[in-house]
């Protein structure tokens, strides 16, 4: 059996024939699987170690698609039923956004035919492709750098994590959240009340509102809420000391950040970019950088694998921590 927690939840949401094939994959290889992909009438494939492999009926990982298991139309229909626990109505909002979070924090991305109403996506039908993403909870990735996020007066610096996609920014953000929420003994930091606005259910991986990832004991998660509203809502309702949110970039987000900072609440967030120069090209983000809202910038890359911390800068772009550094162990 796979040592990953709640792995059965993932298996249960695969259609029976696919489930059989996946369950037969040898354990060592199954542990490395990052994605399982189902496409109607196409071979079943998995991604592991940044490489695509096809899966045969017997659970062998092969490079040639010809002898792979072919995903049928029925499999695709069944998959939606199983993912939603035969309750598609309960996941309307998620389906509209193109992904469903399973118990255990696994996320399934879906594509199909969009049904539009007044120009907005009403729902997806004839779902033809599934991407089961196996999230990794890596505890301790923030261990080495967290001390740089704390002010001499045991407060938190406003922090922006800058990272290209797939470089582990959400993992890092989650780990920082967990540490700040639980408190850090060796730094003498008491746990902070943390409010997480988890618009895409990625940080806490909520299923039915319950976080499936460890985000700490003093963390309140507002799941599936648009960031701009969520940040203000949290301040009014939960009196957080730190607000954590993912992937800012819209004009509303920046406005909300203005408001958050005016109330004295600290903020930790992420943005898609390669480095600071990249950010300066985006007008909305350029503003908050030149206003020096953030006192810490963490820049990530894949140099030593996903989650490599390249460097950490302060508000004047002076280096506080120099990488490359990659920490943490896979949580089993």
């Amino acid at each position: 059996m796979n040592p990953r927690k709640n792995f059965e939840e993932l298996l249960y949401s695969l259609p029976p024939s696919v489930r059989e094939a996946i369950a037969r994959i040898p354990c060592e290889e199954l542990e490395e699987v990052e994605e399982i992909r189902l496409r109607v009438n196409k071979p079943l494939s998995v991604y592991l170690k940044s490489e695509e492999k096809f899966v045969s009926k017997e659970g062998n990982l092969i490079f040639t698609p010809s002898s792979a298991y072919i995903v049928t139309f029925e499999d695709c229909e069944k998959a939606l039923q199983l993912i939603s626990k035969s309750s598609v109505y309960a996941f309307e909002e998620e389906i509209r956004n193109g992904y469903i979070t399973l118990r255990g924090g696994y996320r399934v991305g879906i594509v199909g035919k969009c049904v539009l109403e007044n120009g907005y996506i009403k729902t997806l039908k004839n779902i033809s492709g599934y991407n089961y993403r196996i999230s990794k909870e890596i505890k301790g990735v923030s261990e080495k750098i967290i001390e740089h996020l704390i002010t001499p007066y045991k407060n938190i610096y406003n922090t922006l994590i800058i990272s290209p996609p797939q470089c582990g920014k959400t993992t890092l953000l989650r780990d920082i959240t967990r540490n700040l929420s639980n408190g850090i003994d060796f730094l003498g930091l008491k746990g902070k009340k943390v409010g997480v606005v988890d618009e895409r259910s990625e940080i806490a991986g909520c299923h039915n509102g319950i976080p499936q990832m460890d985000v700490g004991i003093r963390t309140d998660v507002l799941d599936g809420c648009p960031k701009a509203y969520g940040m203000i809502m949290l301040i009014r309702s939960m009196s957080p000391e730190v607000i954590v949110t993912d992937e800012i970039g819209k004009k509303e987000d920046i406005q909300a950040i203005h408001e958050v900072l005016n109330t004295g609440v600290k903020i930790i967030t992420t943005v898609h970019a390669n480095d600071i120069d990249d950010l300066m090209k985006k007008p909305v983000l350029k503003e908050i950088i030149s206003l020096k809202y953030f006192q810490r910038y963490i820049i990530l890359s894949r140099r030593l694998g996903a989650g490599t911390i390249e460097k950490m800068l302060d508000e004047n772009f002076d280096i506080v921590f120099k990488g490359p550094y990659r920490g943490g162990t896979l949580n089993k």
Binding site: S86, S87, Y89
Partner: protein
């Protein structure tokens, strides 16, 4: 000895009559309870939006014992995670639960209800529930008529046949 025989005959024909009448009564009762159960389900689907299996478990506590096993079985099949869809679980539970009181048309309505179960958004689910309830209501009114007509009839037939046999033997 003769008296005992007469009593036995009378008793058995009467109970046969009552059993025949009971069938009509049960159908009426099951249909009535199914309608209220489906209405309860509908409220849960549109309001709480819990998964189907959980809804079945929640409402089963307030259900009549004539239909409780159907909902519990369907929920159990779903919670086993063997890869059954909502419709398949419902169908299997229906097969196991059906004890012959319902007519073929009644079962057919329930089966086609199961086909759409949990497959779509709230709006369409509501429609699916409404349709099943509407059709079951029609069956209910015919069941009520039949029940009224036949309950007395079969009970009387039972008693009277008994008496007739006894008179013949006297």
């Amino acid at each position: 000895m003769k008296l005992l025989g007469m009593l036995l005959v009378f008793f058995s024909t009467t109970s046969l009559g009552y059993m025949a009448a009971f069938k009509y009564k049960m159908r009426f009762r099951i249909l009535k309870n199914l309608i209220s159960a489906l209405n309860l389900c509908k409220i849960e689907v549109t309001y709480s939006k819990d998964p189907m299996a959980e809804i079945f478990i929640t409402i089963s506590s307030s259900l009549d014992k004539s239909i409780k096993p159907l909902f519990i079985k369907a929920a159990e099949i779903l919670l086993e995670n063997k890869g059954y869809s909502g419709g398949e679980a419902w169908e299997a539970a229906l097969k196991e639960w059906d004890s012959g009181y319902l007519k073929k048309e009644d079962i057919e309505i329930l089966r086609s209800f199961g086909y759409g179960l949990g497959k779509s958004d709230v709006y369409s689910q509501e429609k699916n529930f409404d349709l099943a309830v509407e059709l079951l209501k029609r069956q209910l009114s015919s069941a009520e008529e039949e029940n009224k007509k036949n309950e007395k009839l079969y009970k009387n037939i039972g008693v009277l046949t008994g008496l007739a046999i006894i008179i013949l033997f006297l």
